[in-house]
Symmetry: C3
Subunit: 140 residues, 3 copies
């Protein structure tokens, strides 16, 4: 078994879901990993990871709208607003989604379902550079 | 260390939580894995995985009811409804639960707590066949 | 590659987020693990794990308040209340957060972002002793 590691630097353009599947796949190809497990970890508490539908952009729009409605910035009860109205909401939205993803690798590629994509979910209003740690256990 | 892999095919009967613990345990027994880590990954964005209480069925009923209330099909703001009123809601409910689970193995069995069970959470109204990838790192 | 395992026993003082980062780090140091992957798993369905902001306590207060509002105990539709008004709500809040966390290890320490901490989220009103299984794959 072998171990591979890198950090993916992802530039977001403000709030929303950003597909990073091809970046992860490209790295697997570079390492020539055939099978094993891929571990992704985002080093932030105001952006998160999730797996979602990658075919129809309206699916992603609905996920983004849902978050705006479930954790609205206009709520007045937040106490953590040092960095603005998207401060507390970013942490809450991160908690409700994922800080880490664990995805099998087969035949040199992520074993995603037909419609699955890997996403960074940016919760801050402004663009950020996000660090996603990628670790791979190669078993073949 | 050894690596084992299979795909569990799970037939759901429409919306709700389905206990798959015994299927996972049976596979561990077949492989005679004593210790290590079990990785589960569901290849869908309209069904998900979760760990929940396995003793009292009212606990599961409340989880299902909560999801119906938090992400109601009657909401009019969804734009992704090509496949019906359970389309956008399925993706949202999947995002709020898990696409992957990571469970320790000890003494030849999943190291679950006394009341924990492993569940597929079907979010579509109609029955589906769901694919759950099972990967095991055997360390003993 | 080597495999390490232990169980962290965490005493909570009732509802809220409890930082367990230093307990996990201390164990890594004792094992002298330089690099690899850390797997945490909580053996309960009424307490969970999450990664959150560790600098400003108001961030945690807002996460706790959000959960009280999103899954309120005063709701009358719950059927699972054998153990009190915090029974069904505990399971729901656990489902919305994490039962397992997967965190990279580099340079002998968890590769957390600057503001990230590892937390047990106690959902029951009264203090509990919680079991968190810690597994480490050492790759160096």
């Amino acid at each position: 078994m072998n171990w591979y590691k890198t950090m993916l630097e992802i530039s977001t353009s403000g709030k929303g879901l950003l597909d990073i599947t091809s970046s992860v796949q490209a790295q697997l190809k570079e390492w020539q990993v055939q099978g094993g497990m891929c571990f992704l970890f985002i080093q932030h508490t105001s952006a998160s990871l999730t797996i979602s539908e990658n075919w129809d952009s309206t699916a992603r729009a609905d996920l983004e709208t849902f978050m705006e409605r479930l954790v609205p910035e206009r709520d007045s009860w937040y106490t953590h607003d040092l960095e603005g109205p998207d401060d507390a909401t970013s942490h809450i939205r991160s908690m409700l989604t994922d800080s880490s993803l664990t995805i099998p690798i087969d035949n040199g590629t992520l074993s995603l379902g037909t419609w699955q994509g890997v996403y960074v979910f940016e919760h801050r209003a402004h663009p950020h550079r996000r660090k996603v740690l990628m670790r791979v256990l190669s078993t073949e």
